[in-house]
Symmetry: C2
């Protein structure tokens, strides 16, 4: 699917040539949202150049901005150079994570819907260079992005120089999947005209002045394929609790019979929920208004249940991508790829009244959630869109297995070691053991429900003991805590390797 | 200003007669948002009835819903009966607070913009009776509220029976100040058509079916007047830092020269900021999109700087109210009173890009904020609108004196004992000592800035020592903590009465 035109011909370079043009102290704004639609060749060539020139004493420092996480070929290779100074706003690469948690690389962990504002207002270091993966560029500077939208439009707008990896790994019909719309800010701001997940409100391309495009490299490197495990028993139990609860809410008249649009996070639990919906005859015509679409969407398509999937990225397995390519003309009406400011916008999320499903690292007895920090200090991936969706959705569901590390960690703790979503915003908690509906519950009722419904049997007595002691020793009896021991489970784990 | 008509004549009762009609197990939805526009006579008569009938062994329990806090004549008198079972969504009455913190009364501490959803979907106990203060009722059931809008429209819609305290303490022109608009939810939801703080989008009255009105009592009891202290030196220093920063942001092009609309919380610090703006020649035409307007607005009016104040309540001192009454015809274009779902709506706040200024109880070195829980367990007032405004505003400023309790409490602590607003959502912190701009700062940079700019000199060394130890002992170096001692300042205060 090689495209060409005079602009492309004129700007064509090798990745090595482009790597030579990058400043050694540089802020890069890259495409990519999950391992989808990120540049792969220029980062590799840049990393190679860095390694070589470092030998002769040249110093480098890179600030790397992307939409969310990206693949090994971007985050991984640049992290390995050791010159990554700052990364925003989300990541999931093991090399990068290690650097962050060793205190080597700075990481700013942001609500994904807030990133545009920080870029546009110059709060963060200014973007020098945008590098995006695209499937087409026109002579007048219309850039058609590939499998993700993320922050690309904003980075392209704000960068001085633009480099493009023109990939031939997707059919050109992918062009029609994008809907690029960047809201104005402040006094020029108007309502975002999305009423329904399938509303298209912008253009399928990002417009730049052609002069800003300093180089184009042809690429045949595919996105890193994601691998999905078959959901285990815990995931299936969690999914069953979620589905039962949604049916209950429909019966109570709180969710209309035609449902509300679903958002669901990345990973095995989220996939298990969608797979279960596909199988369950109680579920039909599903709408998704989410930030990432994964292979589980095919289960819905196969069951003829997918009405629309609005997303900021398509993150498929190798097999999934093949199926997507084969059906790309047919499925145009099924998918919309939006910038993350729109996929995650509080205005739209609240208007539609989504059902949001996200994963927690740990949950405390009062319904506060830690989504980001392992034992309070080490970054896992970041808050991502979970704050945008949790706060603004009609129904917010947090899911996690009740145990981790072979049972040495309880996901239900007396007090979370870091708070990403607090008691004021959270609603429903699900583990393989059960579901706790905390809506309309004062703190002590919440503690009782979480312990009884969600905690693993091996930690229930210890949680009850903490809560009973807290009731006795706490100065305030509104949210009783034994402050001396509130974080003792984490301290014990750090010392002994177990919370038991 | 006594109004009358056949409906009023027909429904007229004494407060005592109405008190007799209330069920002894009842959920009340009352008007009131701060001590403004809440019922006063019926609660007193109900409290009296309860005290009498309790003697003969009758049991009572009351769930009390209002807009936010109310005055002593509602929260205070009902709290004193000892039969208040549940209160939502915010309070500031000392009797009630004591009951909550003794574990006697349940309190659900909610984002004020979320309350409508919880009522409409039947998450909380159903409202039996709405009691609202109004200045007029028409024969066809149009109810004109008094000095607050709050939750009244929703409670009136959802209650089975409605009782009205028809107050003659305000000129009838107050009718024109209200703009009642309740958004539809779910699939019927459309954009809220507010672009500018002075946009009127609804009706000045709440419509009910006249049959639901079961009784009207005439009232000449004014709102409890709020008393304002002259801002002390700390408040003035905080205000000076805020004003300087806003001018800096204008210079940086991040705030337009005509400003953005201001939201500011309740209390002395917020008042000091507005008073300083009134005096400062750099500030002109001010717009407010806020939830409470206090006396400080008169400073802006006197300086001919107030363009518009959109609010959910007018909370004036005795003198302030007198001035307001004298100018009520003239100031119609200066004020709009909106339901709290609209005054606090994420969609509108984000669209306008507000400058939000709220008060914190304590702040930790990484920029997490506790707005609600004293020493992690005792409820102060509640989160109120601070979450709605902090998360969605263009600029979010938290303000607090750096010391409390004669210096025995540091408002800057290693780790907050309860998190209401976390590092992902907070931006600017101000104490009398200085201002820390944490936007775009990774965690360790935040810690350095907060300690250096905001902490009180007598606690700086101790905070630095905590941070230095955390850097050494913390497993993860992204957000370093010494988990064993993260809450030790609070534990020490509870044991010794001082964090020193």
């Amino acid at each position: 699917m090689t495209v060409t035109n005079p602009l492309i011909e004129k700007k064509l370079k090798t990745a090595e040539e482009i790597a030579q043009l990058l400043p050694n102290h540089v802020t890069l704004g890259c495409s990519g949202f999950t391992p989808a639609g990120y540049p792969k060749l220029i980062p590799a060539a840049f990393a190679k150049r860095i390694e070589e020139e470092k030998k002769s004493g040249k110093t480098f420092s890179i600030n790397l901005y992307a939409g969310a996480s990206t693949g090994e070929e971007l985050d991984g290779v640049l992290a390995k150079t050791g010159v990554l100074k700052l990364r925003i706003p989300y990541q999931s690469n093991s090399h990068l994570r290690n650097l962050i948690n060793q205190g080597e690389t700075d990481f700013i962990d942001m609500h994904l819907s807030h990133v545009v504002k920080y870029i546009e207002h110059g709060i963060l270091p200014k973007i020098d260079v945008a590098i995006v993966e695209a499937i087409d560029v026109t002579t007048d500077g219309k850039i058609y992005l590939s499998t993700s939208s993320g922050m690309s439009a904003t980075y392209l707008k704000n960068a001085e120089s633009v480099y493009i990896e023109l990939t031939d790994t997707h059919p050109l019909e992918l062009k029609t999947y994008h809907d690029i719309y960047l809201p104005d800010h402040h006094s020029k701001s108007v309502p975002i005209p999305i009423i329904h997940p399938n509303d298209r409100i912008g253009h399928p391309y990002v417009q730049v002045t052609p002069e800003k495009i300093k180089g184009i490299v042809r690429s045949n490197k595919p996105d890193a394929a994601t691998v999905f495990k078959t959901p285990d028993a815990d995931c299936q139990n969690i999914a069953a609790h979620v589905l039962e609860f949604i049916q209950h809410e429909i019966k109570m008249g709180r969710i209309p019979k035609e449902y509300l649009p679903f958002q669901n996070g990345v990973g095995n639990i989220a996939n298990a929920v969608l797979a279960s919906m596909a199988k369950d005859p109680n579920f039909h015509a599903i709408q998704m208004y989410t930030e990432v679409v994964q292979d589980s969407v095919f289960d819905l398509i196969d069951a003829e249940k997918l009405e629309i999937a609005s997303t900021s990225a398509l993150t498929f397995s190798e097999l999934g991508l093949k199926r997507f390519h084969e059906n790309i003309s047919k499925w145009k009406s099924k998918f919309i790829i939006r910038p993350q400011e729109i996929s995650n916008h509080p205005e739209v999320i609240r208007r539609m009244g989504l059902i949001a499903m996200n994963t927690a690292i740990e949950i405390d007895i009062y319904g506060n959630v830690n989504s980001t920090h392992v034992m309070g200090t080490s970054m896992m991936n970041g808050i991502g869109g979970s704050g945008d969706f949790t706060r603004n959705s009609h129904l917010s569901i947090f899911m996690t297995p009740s145990l981790a590390k072979e049972g040495n960690i309880s996901a239900i703790v007396p007090m979370v070691s870091h708070t990403d979503h607090n008691e004021h915003s959270t609603m429903i908690f699900v583990t393989e053991n059960g579901l706790a509906d905390l809506r309309g519950c004062p703190p002590k009722k919440r503690a009782e429900l979480i312990i009884e419904k969600c905690a693993h049997p091996i930690y229930k007595d210890k949680l009850r003991a903490y809560y009973e002691t807290a009731l006795k020793v706490s100065k305030g009896k509104h949210t009783p805590h034994d402050l001396e021991n509130a974080l003792s489970w984490h301290v014990q784990f750090l010392k002994t390797g177990s919370m038991k």
